[in-house]
Each structure stands twice: as C-alpha cells, then as structure tokens.
Symmetry: D2
Subunit: 413 residues, 4 copies
C-alpha cells in the first residue's frame, strides 16, 4: 500500500490545523506577492492597546481559506452542487481577497493610494497573477467580482456573513484577548444552506447570528475603534501627510524609493494598469518600511515629522476625547492657539497634532448583501425581520462618534 | 520559615483552581446537606440533548463562591470597605443560595413541593445550619434576605448581574458545548464598582453587558428551553403527577418512604418549620432517587406510569411543536381522541401524554434589581437607557412560546 | 436544489460537534443498552476529588466514535483502502467497546461480576445486538476480537495507541480540570499511517507520543489512582462485599431484585449465555442503583453497612497511607485491634474499615500491542527503541504502590 | 466612598488580564528602551513554519511580570516573607531580564554583538535605567545578578524552573499552535515553596514537573530547533556575515548608520560602557531594521547578498538535512563544487549557501540551578533523584544534531 502525496498542513492557533492543497493554491501562497502579507499586520497599531495583536494578513488569509473549505463541505453535504473547479475558485478568491492591502492595513489605505480601495488593488493583483498562472484564476476573479452565475459563492467571499468576517472577528478576538468577540464559527457554518442561489442560515441559527452581530459591535468599539487606537492611527496618517508634504516640497527627508513613489505622486488606479512596475513597488511596502521611516524621521530636523515619529515609536499617544456631537470649531482653534504660543510653531504645523474627525459604524445594513434566514416552512426572511425580540432596525442605525486629538497640555476645557 | 496552614484547593475545569478557606466555609461544604448537591444535576434532563451537561449543583455553588471572592477582591481594590465578617458572610450566602434545590433542580420544583420555591427552602436550610453552627450564618442570612445595610452585597448574590448568573451561564455553556453562551466573566467583574450602595458597571463595560444579555438569551432558547428539553422535563413532571395520583389512590406502586412523604402529602412551607425531620427527608431526595423510581415504575402495571418511565429512561421523547400562539383546544382534543381510540385508554390517561403549555422568558426586567451603568462623569443610568444602539426596551419584553407535546403518531395536522 | 437527509449532530464540549450517521450507528445509540451508559459515570468516585468529573460512558463512547472517524479519514487520505462496510464496522466496534461496563465503571467490576471482565460483557452485548440487528454487527465483532484480516482496524479500537485511550485521556483531563493530562489528539491522528497492516506513527510524531505517555502517567497517579479516589473506591467495594455477605446470610437488607441477582449468586460468563434475562438484569444496573442502595443502607442496623454507606454519601473518606513497600502485617493488626476495642465490633467487621492492598501501573508494555514508529527511510521500530533520549525501558517498568486504609483515629504510628 | 487610583490592566490572550502597577513598573514599561521590545519578535523566523508565531519580546516580558506576581503571592500565602521593596525588585528584574535582546532575538545574538550575551546587555540596560531612575533598580540588579541574600528571588527570575521558562513555553506553544507544549503554569506555581532559601516544588507536583520537562523537549525539537527554522535562521546569519564582509571591504551596500556601527566594528562589552551613545544605537535596531535591509539588499549587485535576501523574504529556504553524526567533509565539498560549477561563483561565495553545523539541547542540567523536590517528610532531593520511573539521568544527556544546508539542486546523495 502506498501513501498518496499529501497536502501541506499548517498549524494555526485557532483552528488547529489548516490544510493547504498542493497545486495552484499552494503556488499562490508561495508567491512573493502573498508571502509579503506575512509582513503586514492585520490590526495596524491596535497592538499599542492590545499587545497580543501582532497577527498578520497572511494568517487571516489562510484562516479564510480554511473556513471556505469547511463551508463548501457543509453545502456539499446538504446536497448542493459545487464542482471541483468552483471549489478551487472560491478558495482562490478568498485567499486573495485582501492581497491589495498596504502597510498597516486600513490605517494607511487612504494615505498611500488615496483614491484606490484595497479591493481594487486586490483585483489588480489577481489579474497579474492570472497572467502568470495562465488563466487559472479566471473563475476566481469572476466569483470575486460577483459575475459568476452561482452568486452564493460570491457571498461566501463577500457579504454580511462572509467567511472573511467570521475569520477576522474570531482571529482578532483571539489575539487581542478580547474573548467576548469570539464567534461560534463552527456552529454558524453548520447552519449554512443555499436557497434560490442565496446563502441562508437555518432558523435555529438565529441566536448565533444575533450573537455574531453583537460580538461584531463589541469588537468595533472595543478594538477596531478603541479611542487610543484611533488616536495612534491618526497620528500615523498625519505623519505620512507631513512626509508627503516635505517630499513634494523638496525638503531634506530620508525616504525609500518605493515609498517615495507613493508619496510624491498621486497614484491612480489607471497608473497600476499602465505602469507595470508600479505593482512591484507597492509590493515592497510593508510594515517594516514604515517603522524604518519612523526611525529615520525621528532624527529629522522638521519638528512635526520628528515629534510624530518619536511619539508613535515610544507610544506617546495624543490625548483623545470622544463624544456624540461634533466638536466646536472655536474650541479646537483655542487648543491650536495654545500650542502655537507654547511651541513657537505655525498653525499648519500645530494642525498635525490637534485635529478632529469622526468614526462611524453600522452593525447591519438592511438590503445590502443582507443575511437571510431560512424558516422551517421554507420561507426566507431578512434577518432584520426574523427575530422575535432582537431589534435589528435599531442596530442598522449608523453610529457616529466624533473625536478630538491633541497633546494633553493643549486641551482646553 | 514555616508554612501557614493552607486553604484547600479544588480543581475546576472552568476557573482552574478554586480556593476553599478553612473554617466555616469548609465546614459547610463538608456538611451532608451540601454534599447532597453532588447528586443533583444543574440542568435536569438537558443532558438528553447535550450529553456533556452532567454537571451538578455542587460545582455551580463552588463556582459562585469563587466569583464572589473575585468580585469582593475587586471592590476592595477600588477602595470599598468590606470587612472580614462581611466577606465571609457574602460567600456563605452565595454558597448556600441554591441548597434548597430538589432532584432535577427546576424541573421538579413545582411537583414535589408545589408551593414552595427553592429560595424559600434554601432559607430553611440556612436557618437550620445557623443553629448547628451557633449563629455563624446570621449575617449571611441577612444579606441573602436583603436585610443588611450594605445592599450591594445582596446584589452580588441576587440581582440581574449577580455572580450566580455569571457562573451558571459560563458553566452551562462550557458543559453543554454551546460555546456561544460563554460570558466574559473576568472582564465584567473587573468593571464592577459600587455607587450609593448599588452595584454598578463602569461605562466601558457596556458592550460586555450587552453581550452577557445576548448570551443569556441564546442559552435560554438553545439550552434551558430547548424544545426537546421542555418535552422531556414535562414528561418527568407528568410522570411524577401520575405517581402522586397512584400513591394517593392506594395503588400498588413502589416508592421510597422519603419520596412518598412529598407525593402523598401537600407539603407547605410551615410543615418544614413544624416537622423537624421533614428537611432530612427532603435531603435524601436526589436525582438517583428519581432514576431508581423510573426503573421500578417501568415495570409497573399502570400503563401511564410504565410507559412514561420507559420512555424517559430510553430517551423516547414526546414529539413537541412550538409556536407563538396558543394551541387550539379543539386540535388538542383531536389528538387525545386519536390516542384514546388507538391505545384503548381513558381521557385522563391520554392527557398524561398529550398536553400543552407555555414557556416564557424576558431578557431584562426594567426597574427590578436592574443593571446600573456608571458613566465617567459620575452619572448612573439604567442599562436600558445607556446603550446608544442596543434596544433594551425591546429585550425587556416577555417572550412567550406555546408548546404541544404528543406521541408522534397522534399529532393531527 | 434539495437538501439530503442530514446526519445528526451532537454538541461535545471537547470536539465541538460530533456527527452521528443515520442508519445502524444511530440505531445502536438509541438502543436502551446504549442509552443506559448515560447513567454510568466514566470515572466512578473520582468526582469526590475532582467535582467536574461527572462525565459518563455515553460521552466517552461518542468521543471514541468521533476519533475513529477522523482516523479513518486520515488513513484514507494517505491512500489506504478502507471500504464503507469496514468504516462502519470499526465505528460500531469502538462505539460498543465499553458497553459492558457496570455501575461505577472499573470500581465495581470485580465485585458485581467477579470473574468477568467488562470486555467480555461488551462482547455479549454485541452478540445480542447482532441478533437484533440481523447480523449487521458481524464485521464489527470480528474487528473487536482481532479476527479480521486488516488488523490495523482492531488496533484503532484496542492497542497502546487506540482511539479509546486518546479520548479518555483528553476527556478525563478536560472534566477533572487537570489540564496537564491533555493530549494532542488532532496531531497524533494526523501522524497515523499503516505499514504491513500495522498502525504506525510517522517519525516526526515521536515527541507527541512521548508526551502522550507522560500525560498518561500523570493522569494515572494524579487522577485514576489518586489516593483519596483509591480509598473511596475501596470503601465502595468493601460496602458491596458487606451487602453480599448480608444478602447471602439472609439478613434484613433492602436490595433491588436486579442488584440481588448479582450479589446473591456468583455469576459466571456462561450464565449470561444460558439465562437470556440476565443481560437485561445487568442492564438495569447503573450508578443510581448504587446511590439508592447507599441511602437505604445508611439506615440499616448493620454497623458496617450503615457506616460505610453514610461515609461514602457524605464524603468521610478513610485515611489512606501510600508507600513503596508492603505494609507490615503486625502494624495493620494493631490498627484493627484498636478499632475493635473502641467500637466493640468483631475482627471481621473491623476489617471492612482497615485494609491494605496495592495498585500498579505500567506506562508502556514492550511487545504488547506496542507503538510503532515509521522512520523516513521506511524502517519501523518499536517506540522503546526509537527515542534518542526518552528512556522508555524505564517507563515500561511496573510501578507498585501499597496502600493502607483506616479510620484516622485507628492509625498507629 | 471613593475609588483608589487603579493600576493599568492589559489584555493578554493567555492570562486574560495582566495588572500593571502604577509607579516604577509602569514607568519602565513606558520607557523607549522597553517599548522597543514591541518590535522584536520572540521567536525570530519561526513564523515561516508557524505563521501564528508573531508575538514579541514585549508580550513575553509582561507575561513574566504576571507570573512573578502570582508566584510571590503564592509564597506569601505559605508564610514566607517578601517585603514590598523585594516584591517590586523581583518584578523589575524579570521585566527587564530580556531587554538586551537585539533583532530576531537569539538568531542574531552572535552576529551583531559577537561576544556579548543578551544577559550582559540586559544588565547594561538595567544600569543605565538605574541611573535615570535614581537608583530605584539597585535591588532588582542585585537579584538579577544573584548577589542578594534571598537567593530564591533570583531563582524565580533565573533557574531551571524560573518564571521566564514557564511563560515562554506557554506563550510559544499558544502562538505557534503547538498545543502539546502547553505547560500547567498555574498548577506548578501553586506547588512552589521555599526551603533553606531555595525554591522547591512540593512532592505532589512531581508529575507536573516531568510534564514540563517533556513539553520543553517537544518545543525544542518541534519549534525552536525545527529544521526549517534552523535553515532560515542560518540563512539570516550568513546574510549578515556577508553584509559585514561587504561593509568592511567598502563595497557598495545600503546600510543604516545604526546597523553599520555593529557590522563595521567588533563591538565589545566595554565599548558599551565607554561609548554612551552606543546603547542608543543598539536600541534603534529592531526586526524592521533587518527587513528594510533585506529589501534593499535584494536589489544589490552582490550575488550572495541579493540571493539570500530574496530567498528569506520569499521563503525559499535552503534544503536542510539533519542527522546524528557529523557530516562528511568531502561530501560537503562535493556539494560546494557542484554549485561553483553551475553558478560560476567562488568557493567563498558558495560557502554562504552550503554549510554544516550542529544544534544541541539538554533537557535538564544536574547540579546547575537544579529543580528541588520537597517531600512530605521534609526531605529535599534533586529532581533527577526524585522520580520513581522517569529517568532524568537520560534526559540530562546533551543531544547533538548535525545539519547540512544547501540549495536543493546541489545536494549530492
């Protein structure tokens, strides 16, 4: 008796073992574009609040792959038809769904490539890889773009109950140690079904879904939008804005050639299509690029650049106030004035340290890739109309919180 | 250097180690009244659905003890004054808060001692033990009855956020394997504070509390009121009612003398106070008493008694239908008629197998030992008025579900 | 698209979900013989030391079923051939491997049915069920008895690395809270392979196996042979011996007819074959039978019977001393004498309370259903010859510990 | 009633919450020297095998702090005297015990500062911080150097059973997902005691200690010395050696000024004492420094530098063979020759890719800060003489494994 060549098995602290099939899946993981995700943290600067949150995009992508495998197995068991090619394609689609992320994931998304979402960049990567792999990603791209006839496959990759969300909530909860964000992934997947080409959840799973939504709410306000994290990530954005300003004004500032490309120019989606090398430049950017920058810049003569760099490196985070209403502009001006007087800097410089903005979150979007509940009598209803008690209309409301960041000593009460 | 005499340490699969102080706490645990809790399961017949749910009242009581210790330590750290005597008393109060439970906990509460709640019985036990221990439980009893000046101590033992609930949700979730019912006990306790003699939760704990309430909702409908569990527990109640009927009508039925006392007579609270031996009779009742009964009764000539006994023992659970509205009486009559015709039994007998009732649950009671949130500005608000998004008014609504049990073959559609 | 009829899914606190196939497996689980295992604890009286250890034979049997499924899936992936019928048979074999256990599992094995092992009884059950299920268990029985050509299937059920051990170590560790007994079940199963019809472990799994053996050693001395557990279980055995003596000497003692059958007579294996009802009598015995006995007997006039019953019920466990060498007989006699004088009882009576015996454990049996390591070069070696450092010859030595039990006050120093 | 100022609480995925006292402990954690540990991974390149292993020295140091707190609380409960100042000092000592680690922890220890151990560097940091904090670290330094009269405090920080080992085994096991390396930390700490100024373990903890040692063995060979990790880390060392060579030979190579200091010069311990700025240069080095280097160097014209950089970045790890005996030199020469011929490079260049060395590990060192067992009769014995079965003499043997790394295509068989 002879053993077949085995799939690779990777240890994952959450799921135990993740199987990697040999073939295209394995090749994609080994590709430098994908290996780069090992150097991009999943949660940006959240580790300044939750030291355990050092996990990477690489781990998350493998986790998604694992969950999609489980989900398709589940659907197959329930009698749905997903052929080998489709199974592979949906795995590829979710494996690469976040490959377009730059350093610090969301934090710098609007700074380095101001008008391009990471999903658009992921798609550019997929097309590039599709060329390299002779069209083997075509079906995956179709699914990713929701152009494939079986739309439930797209919903596994992207919807309000996709495998992406399940993995990141579980994973972020695990690594931050915020155990309350834990989600009953195994149970939810066991309740998945398909009706009229739509992913649905069996009726008895409704409590699990409610809990998933509450866990998500908790993770948003307690982790992703934790006020210290907001402050730190905005400091990093301000810092990059300053670096951009200095670079564009020919000031003396150390900067790697790859990073310079994205700070000196306003890169547009089309540029990636026209300039073949641009994607490689982008691929060189990772978290370490920024940390090296921080260390160089902390020695720079520019007050703003050096102070912000030092403060991020050493975790001197700006004081942040959060409230339901917009901050009074006069109030902010007073703070800025105080800083100008004390530090002998310009208004423009002070505004890098004192600024206000808002963060928003909505727990559930009615009518937008929504969650469908399949009742025993065959009826399908939107989640927001399914619960006997859990008021989802209230949850679908968008919550805005306004924040004001400033050095502690310049806050005016 | 000489080691002090150590407290006892007990392994607990949930908290790791539970410390038992020597002295009165240890003596109470060693008392036969308390040891008896080792033979009373926490979740009655739920193990027929969740095989892991074999944990006992004994474990739960120790878990509560552990959490109260943690909570008082936390409050002490925050500067609140709880002297040694009070610390011991609140531990005793929670240790004994459930000591009045009879076999199968809640399931038989209204069958064996029809008009006495387990809390009233717990109090009778406490008074009895207070005599034995020369008044050392007096303060604990005061706290249990909320007659003590520091009412936050009572709230640790009994309120909508007491240590009892925290432990049973966590414990029941753990042993059933319904991981979604897990509650962030450690975090919630770390947010406890006291204001104006009321237990409060710090503002930033609000998401944890929301999740605690949703976890509770999930556990109610998925475990405690799981439809198969409802059916099984109602079968057991019907069986005991039948045994009671047969005993009172001098039918030939094996029954232990201890159990007979509670089936033959209508025991009232006063009886326990007047008849000194009655508490000892009650203390002899435990789950094994019922199982032995089931095995004897399964051989009895009475059709109802033997069939119900056999069916519970071998997990032939009555079919159960659950709906939002009350079941039509005519419909139920039809089912009963069908059974009468087929089995050649009387209407009274058939009604032991075909019956309807309702179960209710409310997630949060506004204004009743409610949960208070302490805001950073010092303000205190009821939880239902504290959340920006989570509609607790909706959750405070009482949900009723009606059920109909019947042998599968007699259900009329 | 239509969903296929699904297998049943059962929550397990350890593995999450356990799938039960419809068909014979499901029918066997629903059989009264198997349901009875819900009322037989896995670890006897260990819960007197580890309150969490209330789990049952039922849970363990399902756990074994789960692991065998995983293991066969693993072997199939590695290219080994196990057809549908064999897969089902090996599942049946492990599901029923412990069905012959009586109340308190091992504790009473040698008391109720003195000369019959639980394996022999399991086989009797299997044959009986095979009749009921028209020969559908024949292959399972062959595998269980190691009469089937593919002996690696038997090794999954019974060997030094069978799925039984993996499950009970993991499960007992989980419920006792002795986390150090936890075993890397998933990893070990992923390293299983078959060579020359023998179950083997891949070379790189050697550290996991070493750890499995050490975990087993820890569980033996810390849980299974914990000195308080030894004392309690021997008290129970003494009690049953006393009950047997009284029954056989026509003393006034309450006893159920089922239990009486096994105490009054010396049942032999053949009796089960000849007396068709005997197996049903045995099937009525469960833990609750013994607890009911304890409660009745605690009121009996016989000093030995009532004292031992009371002491077990209320956890007054005999003092136990453990040492490497056999206890001096004169010393034991002195203790007994002291008790006789004080309690005014006979020597025979005193010997129910003061007794000595030994417990033994060997970690690894060389040459007996041993563990084989498959090296990369294709070589296979016994585990004891495979480790570079871990001295398994030392571990294969049988460790004996002698114990002496006695009421505390009669121990002579 | 007024709340006391609380210490900070930090979420840790392993222990739940870690309390940070305000005062010197908190100030040290906020110091840039310590914050730098957030950018130094605990396990170097192990994440190439175990993607979860992204945890940092920062987390480990906090974990150690937590365990030392628990351990001192335990010893206080057992009646040992450790005053406030000593408690703080032992916490400081363990908090800073690893502060001298450079990028990639152990991997580059012998490359950047060839003749200085990280413990020596930690001490330099401590002295520097002691100056800054006006002597408040003096007692901590004494304990760290084992110059303080109560040597058991030193043993908590550094011995064969120190809190450092307990935390790193538990933590590395957790993040790699190699659950078998998990250690019963809570239980071991509960068994700690002190006798004759030595840390001892109570007799009944002996099985836990055996398991701790086996878990350590497993972690060494399965994680720390996993063959792919050895290969990757040696590639990194070779790369740094090449960079050093190029820098010293004035080749064109990008290098940051901080890194240059350590590659261009042979830094000795004394240099840190004489050159006040050197420690600050060293403090600028972190993992991102090396990653930035890798990206620059991957574009360098030097074949060795660019190939090794690219291969590490993209996880093209050299093939590695491991065996018990030293590799034949002629054999290695043949491989090198093959590479020279094929790649048209020099022997010196080829030797950066093809090299052999050994790794060693000993599980237990007899007589060197050994583990003492305290028996019930008051006797103390070395662990290696305490076990009835577990052959620790065998375990104290040093195991050597020889390895040979080479590009796959140049391996000669």
């Amino acid at each position: 008796m002879h053993s077949k060549k085995r799939a690779k098995i990777i240890n994952d602290p959450i799921y135990g073992f993740i199987e990697i099939e040999s073939g295209i899946i394995n090749s994609l993981i080994n590709h430098p574009y994908f290996q780069r995700l090992r150097r991009i943290s999943q949660l940006g600067l959240s580790y300044l609040v939750y030291p355990g949150a050092q996990h990477t995009r690489f781990q998350h992508a493998l986790g998604c792959l694992h969950l999609v495998s489980k989900a398709t197995q589940q659907l197959l068991k329930k009698g749905h038809k997903i052929n080998q090619e489709e199974q592979e394609a949906v795995k590829i689609a979710i494996l690469l769904h976040d490959i377009g992320h730059g350093p610090f994931s969301h934090a710098l998304e609007r700074t380095l490539v101001a008008n391009i979402s990471h999903e658009e960049l992921s798609l550019i990567y997929m097309h590039k890889l599709n060329e390299e792999f002779n069209g083997k990603l075509s079906l995956a791209i179709k699914i990713f773009k929701n152009k494939y006839k079986k739309q439930f496959l797209h919903q596994l990759v992207s919807s309000q109950l996709d495998m992406d969300r399940l993995d990141y909530l579980k994973r972020d909860s695990f690594f931050t140690g915020v155990t309350e964000g834990n989600v009953g992934v195994e149970r939810i997947i066991s309740m998945l079904d398909v009706q009229n080409d739509n992913l649905v959840i069996e009726e008895k799973g409704i409590y699990s879904i409610e809990k998933f939504i509450i866990a998500r709410r908790l993770m948003y306000w307690q982790v992703y939008l934790h006020k210290t994290v907001i402050s730190a990530e905005n400091m990093l954005i301000q810092l990059l804005m300053r670096a951009k300003y200095l670079v564009r004004n020919s000031k003396n500032i150390y900067i790697s050639s790859n990073l310079k490309k994205f700070l000196f120019n306003d890169i547009k989606l089309n540029d990636f299509k026209e300039d073949n090398k641009l994607l490689n430049n982008f691929s060189q950017l990772d978290d370490s690029e920024i940390y090296s920058g921080l260390k160089y810049w902390s020695q720079n003569e520019d007050f703003v650049l050096s102070k912000l760099s030092n403060d991020i490196l050493n975790r001197n985070i700006l004081k942040i106030k959060v409230q339901k209403n917009i901050f009074n502009k006069k109030h902010i001006k007073l703070c800025i004035k105080k800083m100008i007087n004390k530090e002998k800097i310009s208004k423009e410089e002070a505004e890098y340290f004192i600024f206000s903005d808002k963060v928003s979150n909505s727990l559930y979007s009615i009518g937008n890739s929504n969650i469908n509940i399949l009742f025993k009598n065959g009826e399908i209803k939107d989640l927001s109309k399914s619960s006997d008690q859990f008021n989802l209309v209230a949850l679908s409301k968008t919550i805005n919180k306004y924040f004001l960041c400033s050095p502690k000593e310049y806050i005016v009460n």
